[in-house]
Symmetry: none
Subunit: 255 residues, 2 copies
Amino acid sequence: MFEARLLKASLLKKILEPIKDLVDSANFDCSPVGISLQAMDSTHVTLITLLLRSDGFDSYNCDRSLSLGLSLVSLNKILKCAGNDDFLTIKARDEADTVTFVFESPKSDRISDFEVKLLELKNDQYNIRDSDYSAVVKMPSAELQRICRDLSIMGENVTITANKEGVKFSVSGDSGSGNITVRPTTDTEADLATTIESKEPVVLSFALKFLSNFTKATPLSPTVKLTISETDPIVIEYKIDDIGYLRFFLAPKMD
Amino acid sequence: MFEARLLKASLLKKILEPIKDLVDSANFDCSPVGISLQAMDSTHVTLITLLLRSDGFDSYNCDRSLSLGLSLVSLNKILKCAGNDDFLTIKARDEADTVTFVFESPKSDRISDFEVKLLELKNDQYNIRDSDYSAVVKMPSAELQRICRDLSIMGENVTITANKEGVKFSVSGDSGSGNITVRPTTDTEADLATTIESKEPVVLSFALKFLSNFTKATPLSPTVKLTISETDPIVIEYKIDDIGYLRFFLAPKMD
DNA sequence: GTTCCAGTTA
DNA sequence: TAACTGGAAC
């Protein structure tokens, strides 16, 4: 028997938002540790990983690990049926071929439950090695979102140049070119500080389309962490309050 | 080399707002005197002139005059990438076929630059003679904006009747007709005073569509000056704080 | 292309 | 606080 309860159904909504356009269906792997997900988009360009630790749930019971294969389209439809502040309980019986989502309004005057058929998805586990980063940038997530939106007006690819002094996002297109440079903030105590740990300068290009999509995760966290490495995909991480993270891996564009 | 710096990128945003819907592209003529622009709308009904004197800039360097032909659509897109309080530096090298717009956040933790390709536009210079006015009206710009908006609900043309006693804006349409009369204020020392210099009574009609568009310049100045003449287009002038003006010329409708 | 939502401004 | 505008979703 698996049963997990969240006080905010909207959290799952926010998680689905940036991934539903990239991935049709995915396994939610439930274990005593928590719920995790690994999925690649249909074009196999980006990898998405999600972790929701068991201790971050309002209650969490998982006797045996199980994989809940779900259509994200269906899941998203179901989540649209949740009220803004509804509680969410996810239930699955061992060996069952369905999972149940129960929404409760805070005043308990409205309870809905949706039972969804599980999909048999093959469980690809991707080996993610801890990359030897060239630069790690922490910055306000809204700023990254703004940068992606602004640069999108001029072109389809962004070149990220990171060194100790700052991170430069560059785009070029038919009508011209643009660069946005972010420098580390000096008041490091601020929650929204921009910080850069740079081991070595690095220059890489990425498809703005994907980055813009990732930034739909902005509501999950006020800050975002970019881990940039010459040899590995860039990692865009949104911490999720007290419970885990959502990470996006994107391979650079080769010239 | 041309380089001009404004402490408020938003000033250029406000200037673009009323002209971008009238003109697709225009030459920004840069000289030691400042930046000027003359452009007619695509239907050749209105003429727009802009002057930004060099001494109104935070810094201004212009060795040789040059014309920067810009797509106002592109320029407007770029200005959308500026932060609210960003500084703006405009740079162009002599003989270059691009111009660069540099935005700096006040704390300098974010610098963006956009390089735009210049367009080869023919440089029509329009002969604007100082018209022998029948009436010159100075009034609060917000009031003119309100009048144009209000009258637009009833018809497409406004008839302006000006004499020493006041200025009457009249509209008539299928659902009825309306008149708004503005009289000179008696406390002439007020900044927002309405004043009328009238040489002779004058009655002229104009398309409200254009007038309404011009009043998008309202954020540029608390007051607006209307120069009305029986023989020339009406001139709607918005002074721009310490740096210049934006003027709109509109030919009257003939009955 | 149309509608909905959010941010911004008056 | 309300209207408007711009951006995003369907």
